[in-house]
Amino acid sequence: MAVLDIRDLTVTYRTAAGEARAVDGVSFSLEAGQYLGIVGESGCGKSTIAKAIMGILPENAHAGGAILYEDRNLLVLDREALNKVRWRHIAMVPQSAMHALDPVYRVGDQIAEAIQAHRPMDGVALRQRLDALFELVGISKARLADHPHQLSGGMRQRAMIAMALALDPDVIVADEPTTGLDVIVQDQILLRIKEIQEKLGKAMLLITHDIAVVSENCDQVVVMYAGRVMERGSHTVLENPFHPYTVGLINAFPDLDGEARELISIPGSPPSLLNPPKGCRFHARCPFALPLCTEQEPELLQVAPGHFAACHRAGDMMEIRRRGADPAAWQAKGLVA
């Protein structure tokens, strides 16, 4: 059963330059115990989805569609009702979690605050809970009395994970949880998240730009581009991509098996969300675009069991995957564009 069901979510930001549609008709669902990764370039709307789920969109944002948790649409709940759901049932490891701790309070007190706000408990129980949380994320419980500046970046990150786990939520939304950490610490933290996720059977929503991270950790993948879902499905999305953008993303990262090959970047940059192009959003950068792609937006269609892609050429994928492995194909498009 889906714990979190996102249906046709649309988020628009009112800006001085006009309305920017950061998320445009996104649907997917997260099953209990699933680890789902949303991957895409900067500005494709990944973080906006996380903010919409947590109800912390900025004031100039407007969200449409539905985010269903236990058949309640979080988008229409008032603040009081929303507070009963968030953190208790859906918690978050925020972006730049290293700075998500208030510098003036001790780490333990901040986690205690989150607990007390939802499920008040007496001092002894609270103390035990805090110790257990820190043990779970692998920090000595003595550090609970430290201020954030006394912890390393990785520890602060893990403290935030402890805070997210504090109320034993069903869903944890992690928005680029390892930004600003070096690769080794990043790896440790993601490993820790994965361990906890498996041990406690939480549903995880991981938002990242790093396709390698998704590949290593997630069992469900959503690939986003310019506010829309390009492709989604199980882990097979990364093994047998059915969208040229996914092919491009995989090309742009070092091979997961450590096989040496040339990295291919996708020339150009994502389109303006103020004025999205007609047809497929990716057509301007896609070396395999047909005239049809500039005219008509492809629908998200099932290409294999549980695997959906939005591409007019999904049928030609064998050829596209083969040609997409050749840097020349992408560079040629870059010259034209």
Binding site: K84, R86, W87, A100, V104, Y105, H118, H147
Partner: protein, 296 residues
């Protein structure tokens, strides 16, 4: 949680503040002066040989008018035969009380206004800040003189007037600080964790602007002391409370500004040293709050 850690870190903060102040020769001298003034304010009325309005008579029952400094009257006497040294001691208490109370009051008010304006932004911010702009347009002395000439002058009124004019700067500075704080990840995290807006404002935003508020308390003390002295010198002070400004006013009205130096110089010098010392200590504290000023 062990409270020891907290105590140690607070003690460490205070030690650091003390060392920063002491690192400057000006800072340590100023700190010593401030201690002297505090001692004067604290115990002055008990050690003062005479009352602040007490006329002293000689054996012939005549007031000792305008006597130069002597062993009996260290700083001489006024034209009414009042001991200047005693007045100086009594006046220290008023200077510090007015300075500290008006500074605390104005910063409390200014911080509150700045917090609300900066955090809630939009229409609330617009209304509060336009009101602040208007408040900025009113000049202090003329306004204060008019109010005092209508209402009975008193120390309380002067403190209220100073507060009414000092909160503006604090409010602006705190607001701009809050504008950046409200976008910090920990504020978002607190909101996502389900804290109410007021709880976020007072538990997570306010403590982060406190160092800046304290800086404005220190600055406000100088302004408060100077304003009280200025008003008293102009004859708009509380006539029943001896202050340094009132001493100068008395000397001026008696036409003794040039002749009785022992009457004029002590309050003038005390005022200058108090204000300068406060400034020097503030400077050192500011360096702690604003690392950009720190010497490497």
């Amino acid at each position: 949680m062990s409270d020891n850690t907290l105590r140690v870190s607070r003690k460490w903060q205070m030690t650091r503040l003390f060392h920063t102040i002491m690192r400057y020769p000006s800072g340590s001298v100023a700190f010593a002066f401030l201690l002297v003034f505090f001692a004067m304010a604290l115990i002055g009325p008990w050690v003062a040989p005479y009352g602040p309005f007490e006329t002293i008579y000689d054996k012939d029952e005549m007031p000792i008018r305008l006597a130069a400094p002597s062993a009996q009257h260290w700083l001489g006497t006024t034209n009414h035969g009042v001991d200047v040294f005693s007045q100086l001691l009594w006046g220290a208490r008023i200077a510090l009380v007015v300075g500290v109370l008006s500074a605390l009051g104005s910063v409390l008010l200014g911080t509150l206004i700045g917090l609300l304006a900066g955090y809630f932004s939009g229409i609330v911010d617009e209304i509060i800040m336009r009101f602040t702009d208007i408040a900025y347009g009113i000049p202090f002395l003329p306004f204060a003189l008019v109010v005092i000439s209508i209402v009975q002058p008193s120390i309380g009124l002067i403190i209220i007037l100073v507060i009414a004019f000092l909160w503006r700067t604090t409010a602006r500075v705190i607001r701009s600080q809050v504008l950046t704080l409200r976008e910090r990840p920990f504020v978002l995290a607190a909101r996502a964790a389900g804290l109410s807006e007021l709880a976020i404002l007072f538990r997570h935003v306010a403590p982060n602007v406190l160092p800046l508020s304290f800086l404005y308390v220190a600055i406000g003390v100088q302004a408060g002391v100077m304003s009280e002295a200025a008003l008293s010198f102009l004859g708009f002070g509380d006539p029943n409370v001896m202050s340094w400004g009132l001493m100068l006013n008395d000397a001026f009205r008696a036409g003794a500004m040039r002749s009785a130096w022992w009457w004029v110089l002590p309050p003038g010098i005390c005022l200058s040293i108090l204000v300068i010392s406060t400034f020097m200590v503030t400077r050192a504290y500011e360096e702690l709050v604003n690392p950009r000023l720190r010497k490497r």
